[in-house]
């Protein structure tokens, strides 16, 4: 092989676009022709990470499927803020399911497409593909049975969970994805163990992997290129696929509206949210931490953790959270590699 001169692109793929990259190497979001699947005028809060993550993911899925896509959407902020009857922000075929059955509804759509295809009524522009999407409550709690069934049957659906770590739409109640110590409306910072308790945890990406489905990945709104890559890759598989995206919620987390992406970045850089992908139950790659940071950097700006930083800081609790991050770093190989 001949020598390749070293090319350096200033911001590389950290930024959304990069005028120095060839157009085909640029992100979907940088494209003036992106679908804007979730259009302006939606009623999400200022700085909503879920609205951002949903547009990132669905625009990428639209590109990957040549715009042959149908989405089923569980109840939750994403559904409520986008589609107050009769208006909708969605610029794709989209159906609202119930809170807990979106995986099943998507399975049904996929089955119907299969039947139609058998009758010669498939898509004219290629195969029509299906995504299901919902919040963490709709996914890790009430929708969990339907989801597990969809995995187990290996239905041809990409399920996307937008994890903002609580039931935001109904006023920030705890879900099984709420982190320990976090304040929610139902886990107030009072008593001996303020905030959410340290349970056993319920990390659905790991549970999805245990089903041995073709593709499981995590992503955040802070790494657009990684997120788009994962959606695109997910669409290259058939069968059940699961994508879990961390989407900070300014309202529920008590963060400034301009800090949404920064919070997602800190979750990843501290190791608290591992970003990786797995095929058929095995981790195949992970996004390394670029500048490792202690968990305090992530916790401190969030009002839901304010009680940890009172007059006497909750040193022991912070240390427990730090050890969760350390464990992720070991388990998913997130070790700092000395720059990118």
């Amino acid at each position: 092989m001949s020598m390749q001169p070293v090319k350096f692109y200033q911001t590389g793929t950290f930024t959304v676009g990069n005028r120095l990259l060839a157009p085909e190497d640029r992100s979907v979001q940088s494209n003036m022709e992106r679908t804007n699947s979730l259009n302006s005028g939606h009623r999400a809060c200022q700085g909503c990470g879920e609205a951002l993550g949903a547009r990132y993911a669905i625009d990428a899925a639209m590109k990957a499927t040549n715009r042959q896509l149908i989405a089923a959407n569980a109840t939750g902020c994403l559904e409520v803020f986008s589609t107050p009857y009769p208006e909708s922000s969605w610029q794709i075929p989209w159906i609202h399911s119930l809170f807990g059955n979106t995986a099943a509804v998507a399975t049904g759509i996929a089955a119907a497409i299969k039947v139609k295809k058998g009758k010669g009524q498939g898509g004219q522009h290629g195969d029509i593909r299906v995504v299901a999407q919902g919040g963490d409550g709709g996914t890790t709690d009430i929708g969990f049975g339907c989801l597990s069934g969809m995995f187990e049957r290996n239905d041809d659906v990409l399920y996307i969970c937008y994890d903002n770590e609580a039931y935001m739409n109904t006023g920030v109640q705890r879900s099984s994805a709420t982190p320990p110590a976090a304040r929610t409306a139902t886990t107030m910072p009072v008593g001996e163990h303020p905030g959410n308790n340290f349970g056993q945890g319920k990390f659905v990406p790991a549970i999805a992997m245990a089903h041995g489905i073709p593709y499981v990945a995590t992503a955040t709104v802070a790494d657009l290129r990684d997120l788009e890559h994962k959606v695109t890759k997910a669409m290259s598989f058939r069968g059940a696929r699961y994508l879990h995206i961390l989407v900070p919620c300014p309202l529920g987390w008590g963060t400034a509206s301009h800090d949404t992406i920064r919070m997602a970045r800190l979750a990843k850089e501290t190791g608290l949210f591992p970003v990786f992908e797995a095929e058929y139950g095995e981790v195949v790659s992970s996004l390394p931490i670029r500048h490792r940071l202690p968990v305090e950097e992530y916790l401190r700006p969030q009002k839901r953790f304010a009680h940890l930083f009172g007059k006497t800081p909750a040193v022991a609790t912070i240390a427990r959270i730090q050890s969760m991050a350390d464990k992720n770093i070991r388990k998913y190989g997130l070790r700092f590699t000395g720059g990118a």
């Binding site: 350096f8 200033q10 930024t15 990069n18 940088s30 302006s40 509206s257 301009h258």
Partner: protein, 540 residues
């Protein structure tokens, strides 16, 4: 429209919902002044020309650069590049190698034969420029481009001033200097060499000039009183360096003592080394206090130049000198110790600074001279209407880049003055400080090192010491720029808006906000790498 059972309303788009009304703050695109630009004494738009270099469009980069400074190849060799000291990237890893990219562009222009666009305007005004150093030639360039007839008159036989007769050729090869000078002449600037101006008012009158720009530099070597025997050979550094350009090389002998601690002392010592001598610099203070740049001292030491710090010359004899050791007092001033030492010496070269020869200004009414230099107003005009001055002969730091900056500034004011107007410099943008950047987005990349000539050739020849970057390295170096305070079309704002309220206008056209839908969350401003978006309170 026929509606299904239980449906009463037609489907609508959320575009009907103008969420912009929620906003209490609005994002606004701004351009900020990058610290490099702010620092550049010649007023170059560094970030601006690096932007073009980043995409490999070197000719556009060169044209953008030469709007302000016509000498990139010279700059790339002799400018002290204080811009790099101000560069924000220095707070991440190391500053952008601005100077080395500038040199690459300058050299590329010479290689490709790029010339300035011909002048198409004619003001009918005549301006006399006295002195063909960097200041005079910079003024000539800008005045000519503004359509004036320019005559440059110089006492010496070549263009370039102190760049030709002071700065040694191992730092500034003469073909490079001459090529950048001739490119200005080619614009239609009239040049008269070997023609000293003895009386400025008379020259202006006989030549029918409407205005004059004086840039005669500072060429008279300062003397120090040193008791010396008849045979002691004491010369001044400026004469030594000047004679290097002539047929007869200076006779200094082997043991050359250079007296002084500035850049001139270093240059003359390094020159002596190259002629086979063993130069020793004698300086009354220490290395930290020496006015010479530390990198120049370092390069001299590498080449084998010796230095006696904290020493003064007490006496010079036929083949030796006596030096006295000094100590620095609490205030950092050198004080004698009474300890003496004798050193062998064939010659003593004084490098103690230069004075200005103001002979041509004798009898000009209104002029104000203080500390041997001519006072000028902020518009570079002397106390005599129509006579402007700049460079080493006015109160300012003495270096090539400052001189070039004076030339440009004076040209703009002369142009206005000739039209009986005043030139208002456009208001400067706020500075793009480091705190305004979001450095997460920049790839990690340490500075590229310029190649150096090997040490043997540095000690024995006048070949250029510092090499240039090749194309790959120059491109890499340009791309290290953070584009402080100026949109570089990374598309971040366009991507990160949860409300699609950023409109992308297409390559080179930047972006616009759609205030109908922008909720004012501020993510775009927070995630703009270069700090080109500000949040402003919404007026209610």
């Amino acid at each position: 429209m026929e509606k299904p059972f239980a449906i009463t309303l037609n489907p609508g788009s959320s575009l009907a919902n103008h969420t912009g009304s929620w906003r209490t703050e609005r994002p606004v695109y701004v351009d900020r002044l990058p610290p490099c630009n702010q620092q550049c004494p010649a007023g170059e738009d560094i970030q601006g020309w690096l932007f073009h270099a980043e995409s490999g469009d070197y000719e556009t980069a060169w044209r953008h650069l030469t709007r302000d400074n016509p000498f990139p190849a010279i700059m790339g060799r002799v400018c002290y590049h204080t811009c790099e000291g101000a560069c924000n990237r220095g707070k991440i890893d190391s500053p952008v190698g601005i100077n080395s990219v500038e040199r690459f562009l300058g050299d590329e222009a010479l290689k490709q034969g790029w010339t300035f666009a011909p002048v198409s305007v004619n003001s009918g005004k005549r301006v006399l420029v006295v002195g063909a150093g960097p200041s005079g030639m910079s003024a000539a360039y800008h005045l000519r481009r503004l359509g004036h007839h320019v005559t440059v008159q110089d006492a010496g036989p070549f263009l370039g001033g102190m760049m030709r007769f002071g700065i040694p050729k191992y730092r500034l090869p003469r073909d490079v200097l001459e090529a950048e000078m001739q490119r200005i002449v080619a614009l239609g600037v009239e040049v008269k060499l070997n023609s000293r101006v003895d009386n400025i008012l008379e020259s202006m009158k006989t030549g029918k000039f409407d205005a004059a720009f004086l840039a005669v530099g500072a060429h008279i070597g300062k003397r120090a009183y040193i008791p010396a025997g008849d045979t002691a050979r004491i010369v001044d550094a400026i004469s030594v360096l000047r004679s290097m350009e002539g047929e007869e090389k200076p006779m200094l002998g082997r043991r050359v003592i250079v007296y002084g601690g500035g850049n001139t002392a270093i240059d003359v010592a390094r020159t002596a080394k190259r002629m086979g001598a063993d130069p020793i610099i004698v300086y009354r203070r220490n290395r930290e206090k020496a006015p010479a740049h530390d990198f120049e001292i370092e390069e001299a030491l590498q080449e084998g130049v010796m230095v006696k710090w904290l020493s003064t010359i007490k006496q010079a004899g036929e083949s030796s000198i006596t030096i006295e050791k000094m100590v620095l007092d609490d205030k950092g001033f050198p004080q004698p110790t009474g300890e003496f030492e004798t050193m062998e010496a064939d010659s003593v070269v004084l490098a103690l600074g230069q004075d200005v020869d103001l002979g041509l200004l004798d009898g000009v009414p209104g002029l104000e001279v203080a500390d041997g230099v001519v006072k000028v107003a902020p518009n570079m005009m002397t106390g005599h209407p129509g006579i402007f001055a700049g460079g080493d002969m006015v109160p300012a730091e003495r270096n090539v880049t400052v001189a070039i900056g004076h030339g440009k500034k004076a040209a703009r004011h002369i142009d206005a003055w000739l039209r009986s107007a005043t030139h208002e410099a456009p208001k400067k943008h706020e500075v793009a400080t480091f705190e305004r950047l979001n450095t997460w987005y920049y790839s990690d990349a340490p500075k590229t090192v310029q190649p150096m000539l090997d040490i043997i050739r540095r000690q024995s020849t006048f070949d250029e010491v510092q090499g240039g970057l090749d194309e790959t390295n120059a491109l890499f170096e340009a791309r290290r720029c953070l584009s402080c305070g100026n949109c570089f079309e990374c598309d971040n704002c366009y991507g990160v808006c949860p409300d699609n309220a950023v409109i992308k206008l297409g390559a080179g056209k930047r972006f616009e906000f759609n205030y109908d839908y922008c909720k004012g969350c501020g993510i775009c401003a927070a995630e703009c790498p270069c700090g080109a978006i500000v949040m402003e309170p919404e007026k209610l």
